[in-house]
Symmetry: C2
Subunit: 341 residues, 2 copies
């Protein structure tokens, strides 16, 4: 569909624009080493590319900038994955060499590194418990009326909540129930916990304990309560270094959006694994219609667990970011498996 020459020119324009953030003229392309045609020829091609919707012109007498469609073509067909530079690789190693003693540390760190290496904003979703299995469940009484419920997954993931023990229920009864739950639920994946509770446990329980229904519903709530994954954000202020967001209002709408965890999770939904690039208006949220979002999932034992992502201007260093995300998501996977091996 595009001639070789057109692809070269498109590539050159996008490369230049990513570097300079300013409309690219025919002359400057011609002066690059890799395109050996005269400005006039390039102008003709540029006019064609514009007609195809791959480029646009801010105003009549300006150079061209890539359109969303242009970036899309670039990402799909032209971009070269530089791989991860030695420097960056080394930084990653040293970072991860630090001893971490909970996964929040690993993931949070990953977010920090990502934003530092890219100068964009990184968003990382912690692992979903959904696909993990229950390892241990426990109640620890704090005083007469409240207790801490602790849930441990086979991945070492720990959740805890404070619950209030209803009147008229003894700690003894509670403990009996907890023991039974551990017996029956250990090894059960979280998404099955609810149904197993009802099918296998409800009956058996009613024999042992009074008030068992109250207790059961309480614990059911406790265990199955929505475990929304934690969101780690880093380098949000990097957005302000981008010339496209020097307008405070634009910056504000993006940074405001970044503060709403709900929206961020929404952004990451429906990512079936692998690396995904959403450019400009391809994103659902209006606030980031001038941004691109690149996401990758990281996994443990084949199960996709969570997502890491980079948000930047549409004029983003796609090649570098894609390589980096690719590298890092695998690194996290290795990290996790080494940890739990």
């Amino acid at each position: 569909m595009l001639s070789e020459r057109q692809r070269m020119i498109l590539n050159a324009i996008i490369d230049d624009y990513i570097r300079s953030a300013e409309p690219v003229g025919s002359r400057s392309i011609s002066k690059r080493g890799d395109v050996t045609f005269s400005p006039a020829t390039i102008r003709n091609e540029m006019a064609d590319l514009e007609e195809m919707g791959l480029l646009e012109q801010p105003h009549t007498s300006a150079g061209r900038i890539p359109s969303i469609k242009g970036y899309r073509y670039y990402v799909d067909h032209l971009v070269t994955l530089d791989g991860v530079g030695d420097q960056d690789a080394r930084k990653l190693r040293t970072y991860f060499a630090e001893k971490m003693n909970h996964w929040e540390g690993v993931i949070g760190h990953a977010a920090t590194i990502l934003s530092q290496l890219t100068n964009y904003t990184s968003i990382v979703l912690g692992p979903e418990m959904f696909s993990t299995t229950l390892k241990h469940f426990q109640l620890i009484p704090i005083n007469d009326v409240s207790a801490v419920a602790i849930i441990v997954a086979n991945t070492g993931h720990v959740e805890h909540r404070t619950i209030t023990i209803p009147d008229g229920i003894s700690m003894d009864d509670m403990n009996k129930v907890v023991n039974l739950l551990n017996e029956k639920l250990t090894g059960v994946p979280f998404y099955k916990v609810k149904s197993v509770l009802h099918s296998e446990i409800a009956n058996e329980l009613s024999r042992y304990v009074e008030h068992c229904e109250d207790i059961l519903t309480l614990l059911e709530q406790t265990i199955t309560e929505e475990q929304e994954p934690k969101v780690f954000l880093s380098g949000a202020s990097n957005m302000l270094t981008q010339p496209e967001f020097k307008d405070v209002d634009k910056a504000k709408s993006i940074l405001g959006m970044l503060e709403e965890t709900q929206l961020l999770m929404q952004l990451f939904q429906s990512n079936p694994g692998g690396i995904h690039v959403k450019i400009g208006t391809e994103n659902a949220l209006e606030a980031i219609n001038q941004c691109s979002l690149i996401t990758a999932t990281y996994s443990y034992e084949g199960q996709s667990l969570g997502t890491i992502g980079i948000l930047g201007p549409t004029r983003m260093e796609y090649g570098k970011v894609i390589s980096l995300l690719n590298y890092l998501s695998k690194d996290i996977a290795v990290m996790m498996s080494r940890w739990y091996k």
Copy 2:
């Protein structure tokens, strides 16, 4: 030192400036209801106030704006604490009426509300475990080589870490040690844990278990490892609504600073309780030399636990914010005690 009239005028200027963010002229003061003098008189007083260092002039033919010293006088002597408005109080009630099942929820929520009600940035430090006592300690094995250590405090605060079990140490031995620790350490304040470990436990342990030293050092690290309080940040993007930060570079240095948890904790250090106001250059960090930080501590059973704070421009609504922080810090205290009562 200041005449009654000067105080009135200073108060009027600061009030106006806080509202408008623009230099205040003599005429506009004179037109307010509360100061009944002619512009000329007010001009004379303004000149005096400037000489005293309480006001300054951006340029010769502009109105006056308060200096740091001016704000300081205002906060110390003039500001009226409006109390918390009905609307705000109602919002606070509804927010806290939501059921929370871990303290992170309560504190995080507090940060959100604060930033929403004030339109400034809120920074909240979670409770330090320092002053709480150990309630329960437990190891849950995940696989052959690693286990999750869970530490519960009497406040319901839960910490967890993943540890790797050294070669040649059996899970049985580990459990013996853990049992002993629970026996001896329950009820001991965290800051004493380390010394108790050495004085009371080390000896006794050596009788029961081999390799006990290895285990002990591991667990000691685990329990006493630096528990730095969590930092909750909310409404950072509100900074961008302030006209003083419409300059992207200024905004960036502030927002960048806000991303560094270490710095934030530093900011909050050495606050002996009560409400504190740091204005402009009174703050140690250069990044917020154009900001004011108001902090308050919240406590539980008389023990000051953590800190809540509001960061805004020096041109901040001191009265409103101080009232609000005062109110909310007490609210959190009530909340916590009701929870654990």
